[in-house]
Symmetry: C2
């Protein structure tokens, strides 16, 4: 038998790094190198066992097999490990004070109905208590952005999006709106409600292993855009939601917390044929100059 030096873990890592060092695409080359370093570094940090490698493979196989056109378990896995939010945030390149991005989520639909100011995007019979959302879209220098565009979607007070709930009308609680010449907008909706992410797949097992709940605090999704400004995909959260500090997918940022205030204004309620008292949310969006997204958001999941 040959007299050979025992192969060490570090020798294996170097052999693997060397094997991929000629990947011709520079970005893939960089990603593979850092991925191998991180993966092997992780394995060494925990002294990963062979049967744990097999358990991990089984976990990932289940994630792939539960996935479908409508179910993206690996995106959800990225979400609950904070990777989705990290990638958004690392690349947002925004100054302090700008409207910050958050996760798009799986419930976006293109081509929501265009609405006028003070129209109501709640078209169902039992969506919840009315809420008036008002604000202004401004540039980071404080000047209003005329005709800025809002694309809006949210749950009803049962925590359900219309495309997950047959009892709601098509495109319920979705709408698109142009701000006025002064960047101002107003629309009626309902106060959204917290909702669960699916736990019938391996992501559910991961949350359970971490003793984490599977709830997202209540929020309204917004895509805010305007010619000459960077498009921002984000969400505005109900500040006093019970799940606000434990969002299952880590979408919450301090600057995205907003106060839904119950107001008693019978004249306004009567003018728009709403019950009184109602909820009111003031939230302004601050955009930064840049290229407007040409992106089709519906294809990103």
């Amino acid at each position: 038998m040959a007299e050979a030096r025992k192969t060490t873990p570090d020798m294996i890592t170097q052999i693997v790094l060397d094997a991929y060092k000629d990947a011709p695409d520079p970005r893939i080359n960089e990603i593979l190198r850092e991925l191998i370093k991180a993966l092997h570094g992780f394995a060494k940090a925990v002294q990963l066992k062979p049967d744990e490698v097999i358990s991990a493979a089984q976990f990932l196989t289940r994630a792939g097999q539960i996935s479908s056109e409508k179910r993206h378990e690996f995106i959800l896995l990225s979400d609950v490990l904070g990777l989705t939010m990290l990638a958004e945030t690392m690349n947002d390149d925004l100054p302090e004070g700008a409207f910050e991005p958050s996760v798009l989520g799986p419930f976006y639909r293109e081509d929501a109905p265009m609405i006028e100011h003070f129209d109501n995007i709640s078209r169902g019979d039992n969506d919840g208590l009315p809420a008036l959302v008002v604000g202004q879209v401004r540039s980071i220098d404080g000047s209003p952005i005329p005709r800025a565009h809002l694309d809006i979607w949210q749950t009803n007070n049962n925590g359900l999006y219309e495309n997950m709930d047959d009892s709601q009308p098509d495109f319920n609680l979705r709408g698109q709106l142009s701000a006025d010449e002064d960047g101002r907008f107003a629309f009626w909706t309902v106060k959204p409600e917290a909702y669960p992410i699916p736990t019938d797949g391996p992501v559910g097992d991961l949350l359970e292993a971490g003793q984490r709940h599977n709830m997202r605090p209540a929020h309204i999704h917004f895509i805010v855009s305007a010619e000459g400004f960077k498009t921002i995909v984000s969400e505005v959260f109900v500040r006093d939601d019970q799940y606000i500090s434990g969002d299952a997918v880590f979408g919450v940022k301090d600057s995205l917390l907003a106060d839904f205030v119950q107001v008693d204004e019978p004249e306004i309620a009567a003018k728009y044929d709403m019950v009184n008292p109602f909820w009111r949310l003031n939230y302004d969006f601050v955009l930064v100059e840049g290229e407007r997204a040409k992106h089709d958001f519906s294809t990103t999941r």
Copy 2:
């Protein structure tokens, strides 16, 4: 709008670490903490883009969806990233000079036929040129290990295992053998041949992106065990195989390289009804005291 500090990437990492910090199982707790650190560290090192997260999710989804009872794409992914070998090697706890472990691979079958010394495990008509394998199973202190057990499997000279090739007899090129009172063994087989790993799934795309071939250098698999000694799952490689320095799954270790020598011994060939000249491999297995595996290896993939 609230005056809030912009959320930084490091803040997100800390929020995610905190979210999983109460995982009650200490091993899962440790693994999740180090996994989050490694995953976020990797994402930051390459400034991972949101669309790259989606590409990664699509890659992993395909891996799950091509997997089946017989196809384990995530194990293969672990193999080609060197993780499988790393986990084996980190945990082997063996001194210099001991028989080193390597990957089990997906082709093991339990209950291969028991053979006697000098029996031939080649039962096919066209398996290749005969090879006589001889050696001794010893303890690390040099003393022979009587009745040590060998479980053996390999390809024919077309690089095919019998359970992947309808033209071979059942259990062809597989066998189990007990060493004699002096730990010595001998059996006839054929010289194995290099073979490809599957490239019709995402692992194939990864190899292509890395400009790596998909070949495993020729080898014979061995599981060597004895009462009072640690069981070793490994492989012995044909040293002069053209793929020896680029094993697709990184199973090669220096101490596992062995010389198949062509010998001209007409009397031995005649005694065992073999062609002359034939191949000869001498390889000794050195085991270390410990607990014999109770493991059913067939269930590990």
